[in-house]
Symmetry: C2
Subunit: 239 residues, 2 copies
């Protein structure tokens, strides 16, 4: 190989790593936007802030267009650079994670739409305690799974997967409470239904945080635990 070709080779390889880093950073940035969108959606519902809710709904388009860009960039990296095993896994994982992020954005927009409906209805705070409680836990899950990705932290990712079981249990119990409210006072049925859809959206966001965490475990340890018992996996890790 002559020097010119060598320099060109190094240049291409540097350029490739810049592209990979950009992709990774762009995904982390998108995570930040989604995290903010969720906290705004939660705030708008709890504080009956329709203006903020409107902003959350508009922000959803932005996330959609970022997803599309990241998808196209990933495709180009694979097609042009033919990344080796580890890098290929990273790129494919990012395309999956970005889809979960985009869906978290969709669910946050749903919460914002419910916030607007709830703010228009008669004053009642039925379900707000349950909503706030689950929202806190889900927001932690989202933050922790994004941190886990940034730090390749399998243990943190496992914690998020486990936390999803708790959120699911709290969600079921909140839903039973909502049904009881409706039976006790049928006049509030429409309102409680809107709260149920908001709780449902939170629970879905928790599922997406779990999906992302499972992807991180796969990325770092090469193990697909999606359909395995997480406790079984943890005890194997500890051996």
């Amino acid at each position: 190989m002559n020097t010119a070709t060598e320099i060109q080779g190094t240049h291409i390889s540097q350029q490739y790593h810049v592209e990979l880093d950009q992709l990774r950073n762009r995904m982390i940035e998108t995570g930040g936007i989604v995290e903010r969108q969720l906290s705004d959606a939660v705030f708008s519902l709890l504080e009956c802030d329709s203006d903020l809710a409107q902003k959350v709904i508009l922000c959803d388009d932005e996330i959609d267009s970022i997803e599309r860009k990241i998808d196209e960039e990933s495709y180009l990296i694979i097609a042009k650079r033919q990344p080796a095993a580890g890098d290929l896994r990273l790129v494919l994982t990012i395309t999956k994670i970005i889809r979960d992020l985009e869906r978290m954005g969709d669910e946050s927009a749903k919460i914002a739409r419910m916030a607007i409906k709830l703010s228009e209805e008669l004053d009642s705070r039925i379900g707000f305690v349950e909503f706030k409680h689950i929202a806190d836990r889900v927001q932690d899950m989202v933050r922790n799974c994004l941190d886990a990705f940034a730090r390749n932290d399998v243990v943190a990712a496992i914690r998020v997967v486990r936390e999803d079981t708790n959120v699911d249990m709290e969600y079921s119990s909140a839903m039973r409470a909502m049904a009881t409210y409706m039976i006790e006072d049928p006049r509030c049925i429409t309102r409680v239904l809107n709260m149920m859809w908001s709780l449902r959206a939170l629970e879905r966001i928790g599922d997406h945080a779990k999906n992302i965490s499972e992807q991180i475990i796969y990325l770092v340890n090469g193990r697909d635990i999606r359909y395995e018992d997480i406790n079984q996996y943890v005890s194997e890790l500890m051996l």
Copy 2:
């Protein structure tokens, strides 16, 4: 190149095409399983057939494990064969479609779980008409999007995307009817809620059929219409 290397090259290339075809066929087969699972779930709910519902729930594990296998095979094809642009797009599209199919399976299992709950409650057919009506349309969407994939048929895919708007409208109207039933007779609230979750699952399956159709359009025409107005795209196509 000597003859031995040539023969080896042809062999590798043939092997590669066999792998691609296998991947494609396996996805189409999985589509068939999911289609059957949905129709069984719908039947089990409408006919209060708990045994069949139980089978649908068990089948979900099978679909999960197929998804995992297809995911791994796609990864290996990209890593080992470094497919060129068109084939790469096909492989990446298949990994996305398989994820939507797996989620359709999840939603069918949800319907089956609701079918069991509904069959245990007092005899009432509230919401059955709405459910049957939407189920028919969604089942058509699923069948048509799988056919569109098998035939690379963009026009059929566009029809599925458009049909999703109609299903969404019917879903909203059915949900309003359910709320009215609850207000009229609060004793049936729990039952109607179960029917609402079943309707919701149908609507989600419709969304996944739409996602798959958008992927087909992307695969065949290279155009990502996910966040575009479908009518705008159709009028461009006709120009």
